[in-house]
């Protein structure tokens, strides 16, 4: 039981019920696709994921931090659902009193209008969020307007290709066109090779 926060709950299911009451997520319990808003998924007794709309995310995250005790931002990253034209941001928050994790998941359009994919920044909620957001800008092309140094290269320098963590960036193709293969490499498929050797004319 976390006592020092406004909302007390003892297990993940209870937490989700409160989130339903507060209107953050839908009551539906069936397993839907991860990018569907309102989806909830209890992975284990200490880990759940909820999917909310971009507009609701910051509010929910702030509530979880200040009213439910999820004070630790474990990670912030994205999954590219290219076939749906969406990224799914995951804010993983941890409650140090109950040792629960909740993943707040936010689908955002991969290429929203002119500005490109973007999301509200949370650098003012956790100081290290700025680093995550800088990396997401660089690796996925997701913008977080107002986040410190968000436009500065983080890992890549002088990169002018597609943001490399996007699914359409093909590492193998890139490597094949950028570098040269080692000469002297060629292989054979056993079945094909045996056909040529043992029954070429059949």
């Amino acid at each position: 039981m976390n006592t020092s926060y406004q909302y007390s709950y003892t297990n993940i299911e209870e937490l989700l019920e409160i989130l339903v009451e507060k209107g953050f997520i839908a009551p539906a319990t069936e397993q839907q696709h991860a990018t569907v808003i309102g989806r909830r998924q209890v992975q284990s007794s200490d880990l759940a994921f909820v999917t909310v709309a971009p507009e609701a995310a910051r509010h929910l995250i702030l509530d979880l931090r200040d009213r439910f005790g999820f004070t630790h931002l474990v990670l912030l990253t994205a999954v590219d659902y290219i076939e749906e034209g969406k990224f799914l941001l995951t804010y993983l928050l941890h409650n140090y009193e109950l040792h629960h994790d909740i993943g707040v998941q936010v689908p955002i359009g991969r290429e929203a209008a002119e500005a490109g994919a973007s999301m509200e920044s949370i650098h003012d909620l956790w100081a290290q969020a700025g680093t995550y957001q800088r990396e997401l800008k660089e690796m996925f092309g997701i913008d977080f307007p107002g986040s410190p140094r968000v436009d500065e290269p983080f890992i890549l320098e002088g990169w002018d290709e597609v943001p490399p963590m996007r699914r359409e960036f093909d590492t193998k193709q890139y490597s094949e066109t950028t570098y040269f293969p080692r000469p002297g490499r060629s292989t054979n498929d056993p079945a094909d090779y045996m056909r040529q050797k043992l029954y070429p004319k059949e």
């Binding site: 992975q43 474990v74 990670l75 140090y96 993943g103 100081a127 700025g130 410190p148 963590m165 590492t171």
Partner: protein, 389 residues
């Protein structure tokens, strides 16, 4: 000496921008990318006034290998040999967490003895990593001799890894389903001998490092992390415990067999470089004890691996999970997303250095002395390879 309050990054950022380099009052200095500590390649861009740092920017990218991306085009079994390469001094946490997340989504149970062997290697990895850190911490303060002892004793631990797993650095021992080999004949005796040797060294280290006027003078009061910064900066592990925050995944969310083992969560209150070092030093003792307990209590036989589906066309049900473990630097975690195919949809590796070496370092260095930057960096015990995965 800094005793920085919470400085939101925006402010820090603006403070940096206010520096007018043309005024002649400031100098730019680059430290790295060749190992500012001894733990990996990254560089620090210092703006100094005299020998005092007024601004610091971290630069990573010298080690980027794109593991997370590479993993998306490799099968679940093919990823097993590459995860260990994310963190050189402590590869085993990657192996364990990757296996644990895959097993969770695939619904695979690991035999008990395999869990003991996994736990043993994780604690051995902790020991090796801390011994290496001693090398970095003392070396950064000009006490390289002590560092050599640490590095040498780490090598004895690596000898044990070599005979257990067949590799010194990249063990590739923990594989989805279990582990890849039994303890070799006579391993327990040799392991105990190494533990005794390390324990013997620790006495000397305590006298030569912690009761050393030079070390005390330089480390005490350096890089004090205030309690308020712990959550805001996502600080975990010994860095948090030295600030009196008793958090340890091994106790909080026990994994493997930690709930059956006897150990203490070591804390301190000073939250400076000296206290962080002291916490780590105490944890080496804890680690020795944990390894001894495991050697004694581990079942002497039993299966070490569960038969997996054929790894060549192994598909894992769609789902996502996050699992964490306490490595020497704090919370190490794997976030795995499966879309039901034979390849992971996304693997995110959360290394503690990600926050400790970038946002935290940038804040903590302001006001420090140039000569202390390396010591400060090592006091966060950061490994750049896990920043850029």
């Amino acid at each position: 000496m800094t005793n920085a309050p919470i400085i939101p990054l925006t402010d820090n950022h603006q403070a940096g921008r206010r520096v007018d380099l043309s005024s002649g009052k400031y100098l730019k200095l680059w430290q790295g990318p060749q190992h500012p500590g001894i733990t990996g390649n990254m560089s620090l861009e210092l703006t100094v006034s005299g020998d005092e740092i007024v601004d610091l920017r971290t630069h990573v990218g010298y080690l980027h290998r794109g593991f997370e991306k590479l993993m998306e085009r490799r099968t679940y079994i093919q990823n097993f040999p590459i995860v260990c390469r994310i963190c050189v001094p402590e590869p085993d946490f990657n192996e364990y967490l990757y296996a644990a997340t895959v097993e969770e989504l695939a619904g695979i149970r690991v035999p008990e003895r395999a869990n003991w062997l996994r736990n043993l290697t994780l604690e051995m990895a902790r020991l090796a990593s801390f011994l290496q850190w001693i090398g970095g911490q003392t070396g950064a303060f000009g006490m390289g001799v002590i560092g050599q002892w640490g590095i040498t004793h780490r090598d004895y631990v690596l000898d044990l890894f070599e005979e257990l797993s067949g590799g010194r650095i990249y063990h590739m021992y923990i594989i989805p389903g279990g582990v890849r080999g039994e303890l070799p004949e006579g391993f327990e005796e040799r392991a105990r001998a190494v533990l005794d040797k390390v324990e013997n060294l620790l006495g000397d280290i305590e006298r030569a490092m912690f009761h050393n006027a030079v070390f005390k003078d330089r480390a005490k009061g350096l890089g004090v992390i205030p309690r308020e910064m712990i959550d805001s900066y996502g600080i975990t592990g010994p860095n948090a415990r030295a600030a009196g925050v008793a958090r340890d995944v091994r106790k909080d969310q026990p994994y493997l067999l930690y709930d059956q083992l006897d150990f203490d969560v070591v804390t301190a209150s000073g939250s400076d470089t000296y206290d962080r070092a002291w916490v780590r030093f105490q944890e080496i003792h804890q680690s020795l004890s944990l390894i001894r307990q495991m050697l004694t209590r581990m079942p002497k036989s039993g299966p070490i691996h569960t038969q997996l589906p054929n790894p060549l066309h192994w598909k894992i049900p769609a789902g996502q999970t996050y699992r964490r473990a306490e490595c020497t630097r704090g919370e190490y975690g794997y976030y795995l997303v499966s879309d039901g195919s034979g390849y992971p949809r996304r693997v995110y590796v959360r290394g503690p250095s990600y926050t400790h070496a970038v946002a935290l370092m940038e804040s903590m260095a302001v006001g420090a002395n140039i000569a202390d930057v390396a010591g400060l960096m090592v006091s966060f015990h950061t490994y750049p390879p896990e920043i850029e995965r």
